[in-house]
Every structure is written in structure tokens, then in C-alpha cells.
């Protein structure tokens, strides 16, 4: 992979890098059996959901873009498993994993891909624009880097309201070169806002490797804003949790923002429209899949710990496949929004006519 060396990163407190057993980190050792199985189950559900969505796409049930998260599951699951009731998250368009990780159901997620009225955004957002404010999930954003100032705004809101929470603002390795990201870094650091910027470094922004797009180390740019920063591997959900816990605690307790770069890898093309034959080798993909697949890695750990056995693994997988199939059937059977629905959810007042205060025309033809 064409990533830069990452020599200077601040490692999680427990670290002695490659040999560290992150299962012993306090944030992991206190997990119950059920909680560990749930981490595994979430990753499997994400993968099966996405594989099912890919088949639906190939069957032309889904339009537009479909950016798959396959290979990166441990990042969203690890990070979101640390969320308390006052923690918030926002991410970019590769958002299926985060949505499932925060607890959204597969039916409305799949239905959104199908463009159905039963979708999580009523068929108005699509794959790139999932939202669930009831679970503190603020999207799902299609413009590279554009969500990062919003993430800082979530942190501002948390602090302004006197809550003890933090916001996680996710972006890809390509997004770090957007100006808005740097403006957001500065505001967060200047005003001590409780946010953790999470760079999911999968090595590529579309077909451009990190080496061809970014000068210097990505997370290290935080130093310019006097923010602490860290790096960790993203294929081990224990390691993700151990690393993120530290920075989330800094944010929640000290209002100290930070940047964390999590190394990960996507197995599929940038989107399903990417034939994936111009910028990396099949061997590279296979190598990662063979040695670092996040589901396999965690499965092995849980087998060794005696938390999982083959039968349970099989059962979880079968249930996840069935759940994804059910979601596809649900989506298939659901109605599309109507033409009248096009102009709903545009203005609050138009949707609440009895409470409308303004006059005049809101819509034009």
C-alpha cells in the first residue's frame, strides 16, 4: 500500500506497538461476553448488509452511487461502541457502517438504497445521506470534507448546552486536503471543543493513493493546531477502542479536541462504478484480506478467548444474511415516495401548516 511511514504517532497509553494485546486494555477487558459478541455481530451485519446491497445494485434495484465499507468495519464498530448518550457522530458518504454501528435497523437502511418511502430518509437522501438524529447520527454527507465543520458545530452545541459528551467527525484520507477541514481544526482547537476528528485512512481517495495526494503525515497536521493526535490500526476492533477511548475521554472531560488516524482498507472499488483495475493490485487486496480482515481477526481472538465457538459464528453469520435478505424483501415490497412527497420535508413551516408564521409562496413552478 502506498501510505507514508507513520513513525511519530503517539500510540495509545498501553502501547508497545505490534505486540500489544489490546484485549487487556481496560476499555476492552471490562467488556462482557455479550458485548464482545455484539461487536462481532455488528461487523458481520455490516458486511452482509453491504454484500446484499451490492447484489441489489447489480440487479438494478439501486441507483446512483454505492460506496461500500467492506474491510473497514472495525473502525465504525469500534468507535461507535464507545458512544454514550451525549456523544454524537457525523461522517461522509461511505456511511452504511456507521449507521449500523450506531444501531439503525437494516430495513430502513436498505429501503433508503431502494429509494423507498420506508427508507431512513424517506427515499430522499440515498446511500450517501443516511441520518438518524434519534441515535445522535448526523449523516451521511456527500461533499468531501464538508461535514467536518458540522461536526465541530455538534461539539459546540454539546459544550454550549453544558453536556458531558463528545462529537466524532469522520473523514477519509482524501478529505484532509480540504480547506474546510483545516478551518474546523482551528476552531475546535481555538475554542477547546469536545470533538475527535477521525481519519479513516484506507490508503486511497478514489483512485489516488495517499502518496500521490497528501504531503506529510495526515494526523500530524493536528500539531499545527496544537492538538494531540494518534494513530492506530483499524483491523483490530480492540485496538480501535483502546485508542479512541483515550481521545474521547480527553474531549469529554477536558474539552480537548484531537485527531486520530485509523489505518484501514477497502476491499471494493471506490464505489461500485469503479472497476478497480487502474491504481492497485489484486495481490494488495488479497494480502490485506488474508492477514488483516477485521471480522476474521476478531473472530480468531474471540475463539481463542472462548467467547465464540464455531457454531455461534455460523449462527451469527446465518442470521446476518437472513436479516439482510429480509431487508431486501422489505425494501422490494415497500412503496416509492409519491410525486407529492417531493415537496415535503423542504420547509418546516410547509410541513407544519397550522404553526406557520410566515406568509407568501414557499414553492415556485
Amino acid at each position: 500500500m502506498s501510505k507514508k511511514s507513520t513513525a511519530n504517532a503517539e500510540k495509545p497509553a498501553e502501547a508497545a506497538p505490534s505486540v500489544t494485546d489490546y484485549s487487556r486494555s481496560p476499555v476492552n477487558s471490562r467488556l462482557s461476553r455479550e458485548q464482545k459478541i455484539e461487536l462481532h455481530r455488528k461487523m458481520v451485519r455490516i458486511r452482509r448488509f453491504e454484500e446484499r446491497s451490492l447484489r441489489a445494485y447489480q440487479a438494478k434495484k439501486i441507483g446512483g452511487f454505492l460506496h461500500l465499507y467492506i474491510g473497514q468495519e472495525a473502525v465504525a464498530v469500534g468507535c461507535c461502541s464507545l458512544m454514550g448518550k451525549d456523544d454524537h457522530i457525523i461522517t461522509a458518504y461511505r456511511d452504511h457502517g456507521h449507521a449500523i454501528a450506531v444501531g439503525m435497523e437494516l430495513n430502513p437502511l436498505m429501503a433508503e438504497l431502494y429509494g423507498k418511502a420506508t427508507g431512513c430518509s424517506k427515499g430522499k437522501g440515498g446511500s450517501m445521506h443516511y441520518f438518524d438524529p434519534s441515535r445522535n447520527f448526523w449523516g451521511g454527507h456527500g461533499i468531501v470534507g464538508g461535514q467536518i465543520p458540522l461536526g465541530v458545530g455538534l461539539a459546540y452545541g454539546i459544550k454550549y448546552k453544558g453536556l458531558k459528551g463528545a462529537a466524532m467527525a469522520f473523514m477519509g484520507d482524501g478529505a484532509v486536503n480540504q480547506g474546510a477541514v483545516h478551518e474546523a481544526y482551528n476552531l475546535a482547537a481555538l475554542w477547546k471543543l469536545p470533538v475527535v476528528f477521525v481519519i479513516e485512512n484506507n490508503g486511497y481517495s478514489m483512485g489516488t493513493s495517499q502518496a500521490r495526494s497528501s504531503a506529510g503525515e495526515l494526523a500530524k497536521r493536528a500539531e499545527g493546531y496544537d492538538m494531540p493526535w494518534g494513530q492506530c490500526n483499524g483491523h483490530d476492533v480492540y485496538e480501535v477502542r483502546a485508542c479512541m477511548e483515550k481521545y474521547l475521554t480527553l474531549a469529554r472531560e477536558k474539552h480537548q479536541p484531537s485527531t486520530v488516524e485509523i489505518d484501514t482498507y477497502r476491499y471494493r472499488g471506490h464505489s461500485v462504478a469503479d472497476p478497480d483495475n487502474t491504481y492497485r493490485s489484486k495481490q494488495e487486496i488479497e494480502e490485506y484480506r488474508r492477514t488483516k480482515d477485521p471480522i476474521q481477526v476478531f473472530q480468531q481472538k474471540l475463539l481463542a478467548e472462548g467467547v465464540l465457538d464455531d457454531a455461534t459464528i455460523e449462527k451469527i453469520d446465518a442470521e446476518a444474511r437472513a436479516e439482510a435478505d429480509t431487508a431486501a424483501e422489505f425494501s422490494e415490497a415497500s412503496p416509492f415516495p409519491t410525486v407529492d412527497d417531493i415537496q415535503k420535508d423542504v420547509y418546516w413551516e410547509a410541513d407544519h401548516p397550522t404553526e406557520r408564521k410566515s406568509k407568501g409562496r414557499l414553492f415556485f413552478d
Partner: protein, 328 residues
């Protein structure tokens, strides 16, 4: 009624809303310690403290985006753009995030943000600082756009804007900040989307908004006195929502229309209005709709010539006489 300036009217609206609602926060470049680049926020820091009146770095994409994010959590930020012209560096935040987030979330997320600041030419600051983006903004369903002409309207409309649950873009005018007008001492609101007939007349409807209202009223006085033409001046006040009914009622009365706007002509607010008037009141018209706009070029610096590039009473007068002549 007390006579106060447009600037004071905006300031009073901010102060009253900050007092009324703990969620209202005023933010922008130089709004606090410096007392505002145009002194609109003068004294507010001393009165309300740094938690409510917040100086930001020169970072429009960053702080506008931050305000949008905070508004999703229920904060009601009133963001000052030192000039609306600087919206271009925050364009993605304003038009992709603020305007779309409610829709893309299927109505789950609200974005009660106000962005305000001056948007006008006439101060010899050249093309980068003289944009009037109300047409560009209003092109985006999901947002509201307000352009007040008088102190009374500025105060009442800003208070409504701050209470609105959707993004409202509030376009002021540096040339109007010092203009005085009567403003009641007691509280009042002006609803968004309600036009105001600023002068009654029978021969010609001038449909206008913002500073062009003042030019139109000046021209109307001359037309009455020297040309025996009775002009009705309809001030839209709000671009979106748009009170087309008041416009159409005026057209039905006068049968002649002149639109006056500080806009570049191509796809301007007036272009939209013309379409709507011909579509909905074709039979009422005695002749074609005419229009006075900014002369179609980037804003010129040269002070005496900039006056000619923008709508002014003489240009309005000339155009009004042409409308009357062409429909006789």
C-alpha cells in the same frame, strides 16, 4: 414613535432575541470586542458577555459550518458575514448543508440558523465586495431570504427570522445602516413573506426591495409632481417566501409594471417576478414589464460611475416614463 437607525434596529432585534431565548448566539468576525465591522453589534458584548457574542476567526466555511452543526442540536446561531460577498467561501456549507439537511434527512433534522450581513454595491469597494446574492440564495428550496429596506422592517423581520425553524438569510445594506425610521418602542414582529405597499398609486406599479425601495420612492415623488403619474411602490421585503399576491393586486390596479432591483439582470429576482406576473396576470398588463437592474458587469470601482451602474432615482424615473409611454 422613536426614530432610530437601521443599524440600531438590527441591533435591538438581536438584543431582544438574545434576552428572550437562551439558545440565541451571535457570531462572526469582529462582532464582539471590535463592536462590529459596521457597528451593528456595538455594545452587545458588554451587555451579554462572550458566551453569547462570539468573535470568530476569518474562516467563513469553518464558522458558518459550525453554526449549522450547532443549529442541528438546537442552538440558534445568528452568524454575521462582514459582507455577504464572502458567502462564496462558505458556499458549500450554506447551500449543501444548511439548505439540504432537512430534506436529505427526510425531515428529521432542523437547521434554525440565521446568516446576516450587508449585501450591496454603492460603496466603491469593487467587484469582490459588492455582490447581491439574493437570487442565488433563493434558488435553493429549503432556505428563506429577506431583504429589508427600512428600520421598522429590519427589526421586525430579523426577530421573525431568528424564531424561524429553517435557515434564513438576511441581507442588509451598508448604505442603509445610517437611515432613520420610526420604530415602536414595544415589541412587534414582521412576518417573513409579506410585502408592504410603501406608496399607493394608480398608474404604475414599481415592484422592488432593499435600497431600491428608497430610489423608487424618490422617483415616485418626482413622477407625481412633474409628470402627473401616480406610482404604487410595492416593497417585497422577503424574496423567499414571496408575497406574489400583493404584487398581483397592485398590477390589477395599475396595469403597468416596472421592476427595480440591485441585481445583475441574468436570472435575477426580477426575472422570476416577471415570469410570475405574466403567467398569473397576463390579461391585466397594458404593456411589457420593464426592469431597472444593475448594469451588467462586475461592480465598477470608479465612484461617480458606480452610481450609474446601480439603480438610482434618475434611472428609475427614466424607465418609469418609458413604461408609461409604451403602454399608452
Amino acid at each position: 414613535m422613536p426614530l432610530i437607525t437601521y443599524r440600531e434596529a438590527v441591533r435591538h432585534a438581536l438584543a431582544e432575541e438574545i434576552e428572550r431565548d437562551r439558545n440565541v448566539v451571535v457570531m462572526g468576525e469582529e462582532v464582539a470586542q471590535f463592536n462590529g465591522a459596521y457597528k451593528v453589534t456595538e455594545g452587545l458584548l458588554a451587555r451579554f458577555g462572550p458566551e453569547r457574542i462570539v468573535d470568530t476567526p476569518i474562516s467563513e466555511a469553518g464558522f458558518i459550518g459550525m453554526g449549522i452543526g450547532a443549529s442541528m442540536l438546537g442552538v440558534r446561531p445568528v452568524m454575521e458575514l462582514m459582507f455577504w460577498s464572502f458567502y462564496s467561501v462558505a458556499f458549500d456549507q450554506i447551500l449543501n448543508n444548511a439548505a439540504n439537511v432537512r430534506y436529505m434527512s427526510g425531515g428529521q433534522i432542523h437547521c434554525p440558523i440565521v446568516i446576516r450581513g450587508p449585501a450591496n454595491g454603492g460603496t466603491n469597494v469593487g467587484a469582490t465586495h459588492s455582490h447581491t446574492p439574493e437570487n442565488v440564495l433563493a434558488n435553493h428550496p429549503g432556505v428563506k431570504v429577506v431583504v429589508p429596506a427600512t428600520p421598522y422592517d429590519a427589526k421586525g423581520l430579523l426577530k421573525s427570522a431568528i424564531r424561524d425553524n429553517d435557515p434564513v438569510f438576511f441581507l442588509e445594506n451598508t448604505m442603509l445602516y445610517g437611515e432613520k425610521g420610526e420604530v415602536p418602542a414595544e415589541e412587534y414582529l414582521v412576518p417573513l413573506g409579506l410585502a408592504d405597499v410603501k406608496r399607493q398609486g394608480t398608474d404604475l406599479s414599481i415592484v422592488t426591495y432593499g435600497r431600491s425601495v428608497l430610489h423608487s420612492l424618490a422617483a415616485a415623488a418626482i413622477l407625481e409632481k412633474e409628470h402627473d403619474v401616480s406610482v404604487e411602490v410595492v416593497d417585497l421585503r422577503s424574496i423567499r417566501p414571496l408575497d406574489i399576491d400583493t404584487v398581483l393586486a397592485s398590477v390589477a390596479k395599475t396595469h403597468r409594471v416596472l421592476i427595480v432591483e440591485e441585481q445583475k439582470p441574468f436570472a435575477s429576482v426580477g426575472a422570476q417576478l416577471s415570469y410570475m406576473i405574466q403567467r398569473e396576470a397576463f390579461d391585466e398588463l397594458d404593456g411589457p414589464i420593464h426592469r431597472v437592474t444593475t448594469v451588467d458587469a462586475p461592480a465598477i470601482y470608479s465612484p461617480p460611475i458606480e452610481i450609474e451602474q446601480l439603480p438610482n432615482p434618475q434611472r428609475v424615473l427614466k424607465a418609469a416614463l418609458e413604461v408609461v409611454a409604451s403602454s399608452e
